[in-house]
Amino acid sequence: MNVSMTINGEAVSREVEARTLLVHFIREDLDLTGTKIGCDTSQCGACTIHVNGKIAKACTLLAAQADGADITTIEGLAENGEHHPMQTAFWENHGLQCGYCTPGMIMASAAFVRDNPGASEDDIRHYLEGNICRCTGYHNIVKAVKQVADAAAGGA
């Protein structure tokens, strides 16, 4: 079947098998490998992307379900060559080690802070429960997200 969508501002259209998962479509058909697969059971959140501005785990959707959608992956988060503040914050606060969870963490956090500027540390810890990291112990991730949340609140 044919699916068409906008990915990172670009219109794409491809023939896919009906059972193709969105995460496989993104990684294999479009070669956008920043979106990772970590668990296959929707626990880890490494495949988190934005679908019509809302976060989604791309392993839980069929490509067909995203037909007509506007999708952003980690590759499309930077604007006009400038890193998204969340990317900068993860970098500066050492919110990553092996980096495999990082794209999903950043995508989830970016949407959260956009909708919840000024979020508390406790809010952030609750929100990030759906994204697993095995390396950092989460402290620097929370610190990075808090920094962006504080800046977003200050600028509001």
Binding site: R27, D31, L32, T33, G34, T35, K36, I37, G38, C39, D40, T41, S42, Q43, C44, A46, T73, I74, E75, L77, A78, H83, Q87, T88, F90, W91, E92, H94, L96, Q97, C98, G99, Y100, C101, T102, P103, I106, E121, I124, R125, H126, L128, E129, G130, N131, I132, C133, R134, C135, T136, G137, Y138, H139, N140, I141, V142
Partner: protein, 741 residues
Amino acid sequence: MSAEAGSVIGESIKRIDARGKVTGETRYPGDIDIEGQLWMRIKFSERAHARVVAVDVAAAEALPGVVRVFTSLDVPVNEYGLVIKDQPVLCGPGGDKAGTDVVRCYMDMVAVAVAETDTIAKQAIALIQVHYEDLPAVFDAEEAMLASAPQLHPDCADNQVARYRIRRGDMAAGWRAADVVVEGMYETTWQEHAYLQPEAGLGYIDEANRVTVVVAGQWTHEDQEQIYHALDLPPGQVRVIYPAIGGAFGGREDMSVQIVLALAAWKLRRPVKIQWNREESIRYHHKRHPIKVRAKWGATGEGLLTAMECEVIGDAGAYNYTSNKVLGNAHLTVSGAYEVENIHIDTYAVYTNNIPSGAFRGFGAPQALLAAEGQMNRLAAALNMDPLEIRLKNSIREGSIGSVGTPFPPGVSMPQVFAACGAESWWRQGEAGWQLQAPVAPSDSSKRRGRGLAGGFKNVGFSFGFPEHCWAGIELQGSAEIERVILYHAGADVGQGAHTVLMQMAADALGVPFERVQLVASDTATSGSSGSASASRLSFMSGNAIRGAAELALRKWQDEERPAKADFMYHPPETTPFDPQTGYAEPNFAYGYVAEAVEVEVDIETGQVQLLEVVCANDVGKVINRQQLEGQIEGAIVQAQGYALMEYLVSRDGRILNPYLSTYLIPTSLDVPPRVKSVVLEYPDPIGPWGARGMAEMPFLPLAPAIAAAIYAATGVWIDSQPFTAQKVVAALRAAGIGEV
């Protein structure tokens, strides 16, 4: 050349791979494709223990799109293993080595199918018919030691793949001198590494006709050796490259997809890719060892240890992997960080038909310290002594003789580490010595709070006579001044940040700004062997290798050589294995020391244990990169918290029942303690580069026993079986008459 003003040693230089990781550009093995690549799937064993009588591949090979199915008959030298080559690459008939036709666990490989697509390869696997003749199996290490147990390996009659002893002093005198004797039995189970990136890889023939494997591992040159041995190729014919690695923690030390990828690429002369899913990752790579410890310790009324007796039994699983080394380290650490003259220890690593056990952050020490520190806490309780005070009385110190009859290497900081941990947490020093301040009781009557402490040590670098080494190469470019430095090194950056640290050390050793250093890393074609990213060794070993190479390159630079190139192989002081009768040894050349204090809240209705706060004192010798170092401490503590409280791998008759992250639960952002305090101490190691010790495993080591001590402080109940799940805790509480029945 020392860490002076302007030096980058100790600076929180941002990791060099951060940009690619936050933009999604970084490629891990599963993200790399080659035009025209084929796909591989593996047929794993369907039995815990059976002879493979025949492997029928006809139907699979007849499937359109299938290129080839490989079986045992295709493997030139059908064996591998990091220490003992006791595992067949592909189990099946026709080999000239005894026992290669036997599957010994569910993670054995029987065949691999290579096809035009992953889907076809998967279908092909289902069509492979394996005919088994079942053999009696054993799933308990102590049962496997009995004469009646089935023998798993042709050359290991008693299933004991390793056996160690320590016999020191006069045990009878030691027990006579004891005013109090405590006994305990401590049990641990498997732990899954759960690195976020499941195994994947790509095999192909490179431009120099080398069979090349792109994979995530921990030691490029070891992977290379395992491959060329099995394929019967000269070493130079095999190349291993690590791209970005999505975590390791010891779980990538042994082979997963390496050999079979190389086999298929070499025979087909086409690129071949494989990608495991999470279930395959959990089912088919090794785990942390289940270890059982029986311990009996005696002390005087003043709290001085007089005698120690321990029996340590580790479940190696179906193959050795690094079990003989892991149990060696458990043997060494089960007496804790204490001096005692009379000591008697027996340790066994035992083959069973379970999944193999192997390396995992801490390498046997977390299990051993659960016992050692549990014993120390019991002694403190029996003598009504403060747990920190009794530790300081017995702690090893500079010049102490270890359980193996030789002094610890110079630079022992254990007493200082214990004291710092106490002082930075809840202990106050008064006239009666150190005293723990009790926590404020929670207002909810169903909750109890307690504080506990534990500590320990672990080797840095390989032990027991291993020919430890590390290579580094340096090229200096420029004319009047050094404009560019190229550092060649094979060390794996598994996520810990090693590559950034290597470059910091090179910059400082050469006296150039960090920005001038470039790194060519993790490729057997460009580097000598730098050893494994394990044993907390990479900073220590690499730093010394880089300093050596830098000195030689600078000498050439001064002699006007342009570019000035040099390489250096660092060899630390030699170590020795245990004497088989007495255990006498010089097991290690360096150690790291750690202690942790924790506060927990126990819900006596449910048995749920909440970790509220952790204070970790870790002697790292010298900080190279503070931000990364603290990241290692925080990450290790959370991994250890999972180990202590949550992570429970269930295996029945050798088969893992919860091979998913939905059923094998690891800590999320909501589980972790909101307060973690890193107390970073810098007592230099005399032979460490810039004084640095290794540090990445240490914060894992004492957390479980510290939590057990805190649970006891809160409830008066000992929990000696890891993980301390709510179910176990509530049962122990009820047995002690605490909480509602």
